[in-house]
């Protein structure tokens, strides 16, 4: 009976909790969806005016003193990205609603996705490069949180950290690069930098600027040798992978390269950096894609391949290359996002993503299968899909730009043939044919989950059939932005029988061969990969481990926990740094300027020196403390003699309290250790350090007192203390009024130190257990 009651209460509270979760998740979902729709519609409404050459701008104040304004400027390139981000955003938010319906993290996911979308839209719309960088970092942070969404999973946490360290590290380089770019070109506004043409390439720091900015772009867009984080980031849930790691965020680096191509491109450095990194990335990752059995990882590697291909094209500053890059970017966003979402559906429905276990899914999930097959056809580059046009452009581009066309053409054909092989695997091994070995019967997913793949796949088909609209309103303006000159482009499915078409036919033939010999090819690639030296992930692991190793060694060396060790370091650092400075800037010693020493001062100083000697040779702590107190009080008396009454009182009080505090502690400690202690062997060294510190300090003090004072500040305080702050005690007026912010900082330090001491004493006792 009691057990029943418990279970009933549990059921009740669970449903209560569920209601609460759904409530907040619904709010988050509604906010995300509405924002995405609003942005999408807003971008659509600007399409024709931007196509006509009028950018959509917005400007606001933010940190005027640092020259950071909220300058937004949406031109053709920004519009293309904006439409992709907000449009795919709508589908991904809908999809996530179904995917996470009963997940306790649903609300968190929707908020994070929304934050990401806003950051990404900001990134592609910023005209100010500092603003761009801030949004850039925001996408890095939201990506970190989204990759680590399943934070109870070690692998997810590791991948999230890796994505953060790699892209965050690149971000730091980018920041320096952008600042140098701003300095070199004389403006922090992208529009002005671009308007100044290729002036930056003439600048003496151009190689440094280029390296730093490309480091940022390459890490973000997963270019070799930083490509490894992206497949690992597949630890994220499917909608996140689809949105961030295929359609949008990883294209931020591409966006930056497109944006700056007209300013930084056109040089040999640019050409070789991009074509080599992009080329290696494309070929390597398409090989890696073929050896995967996990469909999602396969897609991840093909994403890396696509990014490599686009980077390779951006190496050239010809219009055909820009056109190929822009078109392929759109093609890729459509089919890759659709496939990621479809694989998410398969995973949700069957519990596996291993294509060896899946087959003939069209019987169970017909609508998902429709979307996936259409998307895969576009990926393979079959007519009449947009993918076909994209691939034709790639071939046309490679035939045009390369000095040694056949090497690059061969690489492009190989990479594309592998795409065909993978697309055919998706179609015939997973959705239309193949044997399923899973035990449970898969069901079609909710409508919100299939609408994404289907819409995107149909978009790929329609834009392929009727390329006129998208060319005029999206592709042409974007290409114009990349070229920084108005471009005239036309796309069509049929170009007649020419080089690209023949290459396409070869590609399809090789692709079909690859499809039939997939297991042999993947075994060959596996054998090859095992023989190759370590790259990417292992290098990251090695660096991370070494950094932690060195850091812990260094910390153990410096943070010994011994007070005398700390003091040794502090005083040695003081002596060395000041002594070196004094060697280069000697202090002139004009002793005639010194005021005469009165007998009273001589007596005080004599007392202080005696006390210091007593302190040094004392055998008990109490004597040492009292002697120290005498020295401090002597200083207070000297302050008094020279008229600094406030300072003198403070010094005296601090000295008194110090003696009391230390006495409280030391009374409870044992006597000084015996002189046979190792401390004695340190005696000589300590004496040297102490005398050196004393001599250096004396030189500085003499130097300061012999330097003629600039009395401007003194006069200001003397004149204004009473007039403006109504106080005759200048010291106090400075403390509480003129420089009150400094005092506030100091008081905060006192407070923090006191709280820390109290907390440390408590912790120490608790660690030892109750007395």
């Amino acid at each position: 009976m009691p057990a029943d009651i418990t279970s009933q209460t549990n059921a009740y509270s669970n449903s209560e909790i569920r209601k609460g979760i759904n409530g907040s998740a619904n709010t988050a979902f509604a906010c995300a969806l509405i924002s995405a729709i609003v942005f999408f519609v807003a971008y659509l409404s600007q399409v024709s005016s931007i196509a006509a050459g009028t950018p959509w701008t917005f400007s606001g104040e933010w940190v005027p003193r640092l020259g950071v304004q909220l300058d937004f400027r949406v031109d053709g390139l920004s519009l293309l990205f904006g439409l992709l981000i907000s449009g795919i955003g709508i589908l991904v938010f809908l999809y996530s609603y179904g995917y996470f319906k009963v997940h306790k993290g649903h609300a968190r996911l929707q908020w994070l996705l929304l934050s990401f979308m806003l950051a990404m839209l900001g990134l592609v719309s910023s005209d100010n490069i500092i603003l761009l960088f801030i949004f850039w970092e925001l996408t890095t942070i939201t990506s970190f949180l989204l990759v680590g969404f399943d934070h109870e999973n070690t692998q997810a946490r590791r991948s999230a950290l890796q994505a953060l360290l790699v892209t965050g590290g690149g971000g730091l380089a980018l920041l320096v690069g952008l600042i140098m770019l701003g300095q070199a070109s004389g403006s922090y506004l992208l529009s002005e930098i671009i308007a100044s043409g290729s002036a930056v390439t003439e600048h003496e720091h151009y190689p440094v600027i280029l390296t730093l900015i490309l480091l940022g772009a390459f890490t973000k867009s997963a270019q070799f040798p930083f490509h490894f984080w992206l497949p690992n980031a597949m630890a994220a849930p499917s909608p996140v992978s689809a949105y961030l790691h295929s359609a949008t965020m990883v294209k931020a680096g591409i966006y930056l390269m497109m944006r700056l191509q007209s300013s930084l491109g056109g040089t040999e450095e640019w050409f070789y950096a991009l074509s080599i990194a992009g080329g290696i990335t494309a070929v390597w990752s398409s090989m890696m894609a073929l050896r995967q059995t996990d469909l999602k990882l396969m897609l991840a590697w093909t994403t890396v391949m696509a990014l490599g291909t686009i980077t390779m094209f951006l190496a050239s500053n010809l219009q055909i290359a820009a056109l190929a890059a822009v078109t392929f970017l759109i093609v890729h966003a459509f089919y890759k996002c659709a496939l990621f979402l479809a694989i998410g559906n398969v995973d949700k429905s069957t519990g596996t993503r291993d294509f060896n276990k899946l087959g003939s899914l069209v019987r169970f999930m017909p609508i998902t299968a429709l979307g996936a097959v259409l998307a895969a056809l576009s990926m393979a580059g079959f007519p009449p899909f947009l993918g076909f046009i994209g691939k034709e452009l790639i071939y046309e581009g490679t035939l045009t730009i390369a000095d040694q066309p056949w090497i690059i053409v061969a690489a492009a054909v190989a990479a594309n043939a592998m795409m065909v092989g993978i697309a055919l695997t998706f179609i015939f091994r997973v959705f239309l044919g193949g044997e399923s070995t899973i035990t449970r019967e898969p069901k079609e997913v909710y409508a919100v989950m299939w609408v994404g793949p289907v819409v995107l796949a149909i978009a790929g088909l329609l834009t392929g059939l009727l390329p006129g609209q998208i060319t005029e309103y999206v592709i042409q303006p974007a290409v114009s932005s990349v070229m920084a000159a108005s471009a005239e482009v036309k796309l069509s499915l049929w170009h007649g029988i020419n080089g690209p078409l023949i290459l396409s036919i070869i590609t399809v033939a090789v692709g079909i061969m690859l499809f039939f010999s997939l297991s042999i090819v993947s075994r060959m690639i596996n054998n090859l990969v095992e023989k190759l030296p370590v790259v990417g992930d292992s290098a990251y692991e090695f660096l991370l481990n070494r950094t932690q190793f060195v850091a812990s060694k260094l910390t153990n060396r410096l943070q010994t926990g011994s007070l005398s060790h700390y003091l040794t370091i502090v005083f040695m650092a003081f002596v060395v740094s000041v002594a070196v400075t004094l060697l280069y800037h000697p202090v002139s010693m004009d002793f005639d300027r010194l005021t005469p020493v009165t007998p009273f001062i001589a007596i005080v100083v004599f007392l202080m020196i005696s006390a210091a000697l007593v302190l040094t040779f004392s055998n008990t702590r109490l004597l040492a403390i009292c002697a120290l107190g005498v020295v401090g009080s002597g200083v207070a008396v000297l302050f008094l003699v020279f008229g600094a009454i406030d300072v003198a009182i403070t010094q005296l009080m601090v000295e008194t309290l110090f003696v009391v505090l230390i006495a409280t502690v030391l009374i409870k400690l044992p006597r000084f250790p015996d002189q046979t202690d190792p401390a004695k062997t340190r005696g000589l060294r300590d004496a040297v350090i102490a005398i050196a510190a004393g001599v250096v300090m004396a030189i500085i003090t003499l130097g300061v007192s012999l330097t003629p004072l600039d009395l401007t500040v003194t006069h200001f305080f003397e004149e204004n203390s009473l007039a403006q702050a109504y106080g005759r005690n200048i010291v106090n007026v400075i403390l509480v009024d003129f420089r009150a912010l400094d005092t506030l900082g100091e008081v905060a330090v006192v407070a923090t130190a006191a709280l820390a001491v109290i907390a440390l004493l408590k912790v120490r006792v608790h660690a030892q257990g109750p007395r």
Partner: protein
């Protein structure tokens, strides 16, 4: 420390020192003194009392936990700096009120710097006596 003489004198002393500390705090704007010095004097008085009577009595004398006193002090200083924002001045600008001011007499000036200084005073009193209490209790 069980000494009747010290204990008796410390009680007398703590009152005098606290009074003197407030005097120093008050006159600080025009004569030597101020929140920092006042706070140190008050803390010294409280510590003398604590040495004679033990940390428990120090806590009783303070009435509220020293950590709380520190935070109240910090808050007081920050709030005194925020007040001028109400009349569109920048953070920590002095705001003054002259009580009984006439054509010739300035009157009694009360300003946010005084509130700021009271905050400093509280932080110093709470911080120093808190450290001594913790040392006495935990060691």
């Amino acid at each position: 420390m069980n000494s009747l003489i010290f204990s008796t004198i410390s009680r007398l002393l703590v009152g005098l020192m606290l009074l003197f500390s407030v005097f120093l705090l008050w006159r600080g704007h025009n004569e030597p003194g101020g929140g920092f010095i006042g706070g140190l004097v008050a803390a010294a008085g409280i510590i003398v009392y604590g040495l004679a009577e033990g940390p428990g009595m120090m806590r009783k004398l303070l009435r509220i936990a020293p950590q709380t006193l520190v935070l109240i002090g910090l808050l007081t200083s920050v709030v005194s700096g925020l007040l001028p924002l109400l009349q569109d001045s920048s953070f920590l600008t002095g705001m003054w009120l002259f009580i009984g001011a006439t054509e010739t007499e300035k009157g009694l000036g009360l300003g946010t710097p005084l509130i700021f200084d009271i905050g400093v005073y509280l932080v110093v009193v709470g911080g120093v006596s808190g450290m001594v209490i913790a040392l006495e209790e935990e060691l």
